[in-house]
């Protein structure tokens, strides 16, 4: 075992959140080491749909989403590439009256967070988006939202972070992690790292890290069922979703249509994940119902990835309830991609300044713990 490596901040998990945190910390001159057991962006951050949207989010997420949006628009300036981010708008569709009511109700929530949405009835929808079939009865359009290429974001953030002086170690699994003598000590197979601050951005496995520090939470693994079609002439401009979220699709300028919906299967221990044929077929059917012209188009491959799902479908973000200097950002429940840029900025502020302006109370890990602040089923460390 070689001599331990000392840093200011250690980060476990190299997805979008972790790489963004590493970048922000490096910009502020902190010594930061990120440990990723595979390649950056291997799981949810790389396998997700690529939606970059504020619309539809739980109010607790909206301030983070807004902050993130400002960063998305500045990506080329910040990291030298745009990761194919385009603001083609997000169109959320209702397929019946109940779903239309849902969309309407959200208009006020959005407005109170400064997010302007446009409600469209059936006729207006089809006038504006003639490729929509009769399944859509109403829609809510968010002009500032859009999409990006998830396979590019984490690697691009990692490259920029390295260039800014951060150390990102891939193919480096964490074998042990503890807090002793006022510092965090993180071990891998061959090295030991020490720092005063630790960021838990380990995705689904963030639950495991939290458990190591005595604050286990009920997290499940979640494997979105994704697929993509062959390239066809470009007609679908906005990122399209539905109330309830059981299908979503977007077309890239090259012509391929990415479609998602439902869940595949996975084993976080390996880790492995894969789509399920019946789920793929179901999403295909729903997509063709939304956009009839897709019927003759072929799916050419499908995939999945492992994400972490919380019971209330919003992430755990904020300080540890047991250990000062530990900050969590995991369990993004299928919609972390857009948030990752701001999460990195927020974690950087928490680690270096001890506070952040962005409200996080509703996302605190404490919401899963017994009222007295004692972790359910255990004693405080």
């Amino acid at each position: 075992m070689t001599a331990p490596v000392d840093a200011d901040v250690l980060i476990i998990g190299g997805g979008g959140a972790g790489c963004s945190a590493a970048l922000h910390l490096a910009w502020r001159g902190a010594r930061v080491v990120l440990l990723e057991r595979g390649l950056v962006g291997s799981q949810a951050s790389g396998a997700n749909y690529g939606g970059v949207r504020q619309q539809g989010r739980h109010p607790a997420e909206l301030p983070i989403a807004k902050r993130s949006h400002a960063l998305w628009r500045r990506l080329p300036e910040l990291i030298g590439t745009d990761c194919e981010f385009v603001q083609t708008g997000h169109l959320k569709l209702a397929r019946n009256e109940a779903e239309a009511a849902e969309l309407l109700a959200y208009l006020d929530v959005a407005a109170s967070h400064g997010l302007q949405l446009e409600f469209l009835d059936g006729m207006a929808l089809r006038r504006r988006f003639p490729w929509l079939g009769p399944a859509a009865v109403a829609g809510s359009f968010a002009p500032e939202d859009g999409s990006a290429n998830p396979r590019l974001l984490s690697p691009a953030l990692a490259r920029a972070a390295r260039q800014a002086g951060a150390t990102l170690l891939e193919q480096t699994a964490v074998t042990d992690c503890r807090h002793e003598n006022g510092r965090f000590v993180v071990e891998t197979a061959t090295r030991r790292f020490r720092a005063g601050r630790l960021l838990n951005t380990a995705g689904f496995w963030g639950g495991q890290v939290a458990a190591w520090f005595g604050e286990a939470v009920p997290i499940r693994h979640h494997t979105p069922n994704m697929m993509v079609t062959e390239p066809i002439p470009y007609t679908i401009e906005p990122n399209v979703g539905v109330a309830g979220g059981n299908v979503y699709l977007r077309q890239i300028p090259r012509g391929n249509v990415i479609i998602g919906g439902g869940y595949g299967m996975g084993d976080p221990v390996v880790p492995m994940s894969r789509p399920l044929a019946q789920v793929t077929l179901q999403a295909m059917r729903r997509a063709a119902a939304l956009v009839p012209a897709l019927a003759g188009v072929s799916v050419i491959r499908s995939w999945s990835g492992i994400d972490g799902m919380m019971p209330d479908k919003i992430p755990v973000v904020g300080p540890s309830s047991t250990t000062p200097g530990l900050f969590h950002a995991f369990g993004f429940s299928g919609h972390g991609f857009q948030l990752s840029l701001a999460i990195g900025a927020i974690l950087c502020e928490l680690a270096l300044d001890g506070r952040t302006e962005t409200p996080l109370e509703e996302l605190s890990i404490r919401r899963f713990l017994a009222p007295q602040g004692v972790p359910a089923g255990g004693v405080m460390a």
């Binding site: 590019l152 390295r162 044929a277 077929l281 295909m284 019927a295 050419i300 491959r301």
Partner: protein, 464 residues
């Protein structure tokens, strides 16, 4: 017990034969309308050529295989014109596509005999109309009675090169030249003193002799430079360098190219069978034992999909895989047959190894392809763009392995899922990264194994 066999080439036929013999009625699925695989592919009804004209020296084997195939169809649940596009693990199901509709077939054990396709090295101009694989040039003749052009150049290396050239010559096509990238010395060294299957060697020498006797240029140790032509008129010439380094120009209007074959292991991959790089074959090969058992319970492999061996090996392997399935199901087996086949397979393995040494995959040729060469023909991505993805200074950092390179460049993201460009792309990337091709991974398998139209999804949602 529900047993399925995927593929009706030599391996699939002999597998079904053993299963039927044991009293089973397997589900038998094949993508083609009438089975036969590739080597023994049958033309559609209405074609008049006899087996001798179609299969030459292999005619007796072809006739026997077709007779077996036709006799077995009524004894099995025969489903031709059907693609298996995914394999589910729990429940165990084959997901199929037939006449635009999907279906799911549960199984307890399955023998996958999904065959192989040509292994190619792109060169400038290879996407022009008029360029096909060697196998494709052979199919045009065998299954459609056509030559791929008026004046055909055949390029590559391996026994198929000479066989196709000979077949074209015999059928009356004009063969401009037969260009073998493997130097004579390499072949001589590997094949010298080869006792195990002199028949294959003799055939090769015979074909070359006949080609030369017909005045056709047969050159060895060549370096192909570019296929010339334009989109409207197609191929017009092939530029190449001979063994002495002289640049030469060959007028032609079609080029058939290929360097051996590569397995089609996609279903094995989706079934969870580990896939490893076999340095002797220079191919990614699914893991199986001598009898065709894989580490995945209930999944067996036979034929070229399990590792390139040719038609004779495929027939023996198909029978062995079926015997293994029967043994594992505690049904009566034919130990004497298995013993005989295993001994013959071992002898064949030694010959195959020599054959691989005689016709090695031209890794250096692949690695050296010019930057402007279209490498992935589905997505029109060039070799230069792939090399750029290996640079640490690029916007996303360096891609250390092929799946990441695919994410950065779109290589392998097309309809063919990297079947055509995968091997060559790996050589280019490995050369740029300075490592062995076995170290940079392989394109991971993703369902559907071939394109699946959205309209194939059934109208009604299945009950929750």
């Amino acid at each position: 017990m529900r047993v399925a066999v995927v593929g009706a080439g030599p391996a699939g036929v002999r597998a079904v034969e053993q299963l039927v013999r044991a009293g089973l009625r397997p589900l038998w699925i094949d993508e083609a309308p009438d089975g036969g695989g590739r080597i023994y592919q049958r033309p559609p009804a209405g074609f008049a050529r006899e087996a001798r004209a179609l299969y030459g020296l292999e005619a007796p084997k072809a006739r026997a295989l077709h007779a077996a195939l036709d006799a077995l169809k009524p004894a099995a649940d025969w489903q031709p014109d059907t693609l298996v596009w995914d394999i589910g693990a729990d429940p165990r199901e084959l997901h199929t596509l037939h006449e635009g509709q999907v279906a799911a077939h549960g199984f307890d054990a399955a023998i996958l005999c999904t065959g192989a396709m040509d292994r190619v090295v792109p060169l400038p101009g290879w996407t022009l109309p008029g360029v096909t694989t060697l196998g494709g040039a052979q199919i045009a003749l065998k299954a459609q009675g056509c030559a791929i052009g008026r004046c055909v150049a055949l390029l590559g290396s391996g026994p198929l090169l000479w066989l196709v050239a000979y077949q074209y010559m015999k059928a009356g096509a004009t063969v401009a030249a037969v260009l073998d990238t493997t130097p004579f010395a390499t072949k001589a060294r590997a094949l010298a003193g080869l006792p195990h299957d002199p028949a294959t060697l003799a055939k090769g020498l015979y074909y070359v002799a006949r080609l030369r006797a017909a005045g056709i240029l047969v050159a060895e140790g060549v370096t192909p430079l570019a296929i010339e032509g334009d989109g409207e008129r197609g191929v017009s010439a092939l530029r190449w360098r001979d063994a002495k380094g002289r640049e030469r120009w060959l007028d032609c209007d079609a080029v058939g190219l290929g360097w051996g074959v590569r397995p089609e292991p996609q279903l094995a991959d989706l079934a969870g069978v580990p896939i490893r790089f076999d340095a002797v074959q220079h191919n990614w090969v699914p893991q199986r034992d001598a009898m065709g058992r894989t580490p995945v319970r209930g999944i067996y492999l036979a034929g070229d999909a399990a590792g390139i061996g040719g038609a004779d090996v495929a027939e023996m392997a198909g029978a062995c895989a079926a015997q293994a399935l029967l043994a594992d199901a505690v049904l009566p087996v034919d130990a004497a047959l298995t013993g005989r086949l295993q001994r013959r397979l071992q002898r064949q393995a030694r010959f195959r190894a020599a054959l691989e040494r005689a016709f090695p995959f031209p890794a250096r040729l692949a690695a050296a392809m010019p930057d402007e060469t279209i490498l992935c023909r589905c997505e029109a991505v060039t070799a230069g763009e792939l090399r750029a993805a290996a640079e640490p200074e690029g916007p996303h950092g360096a891609a250390p392995e092929v799946n990441r390179a695919k994410a950065f460049t779109r290589i392998g993201m097309g309809r063919c899922q990297g079947r055509v460009c995968g091997m060559a792309a790996a050589e280019v990337l490995a050369a740029r990264l300075g490592c062995d091709v076995a170290e940079i991974g392989r394109l991971r398998g993703q369902a559907p194994v071939k394109p699946l139209p959205l309209s194939a999804a059934p109208e009604r949602e299945a009950a929750a």
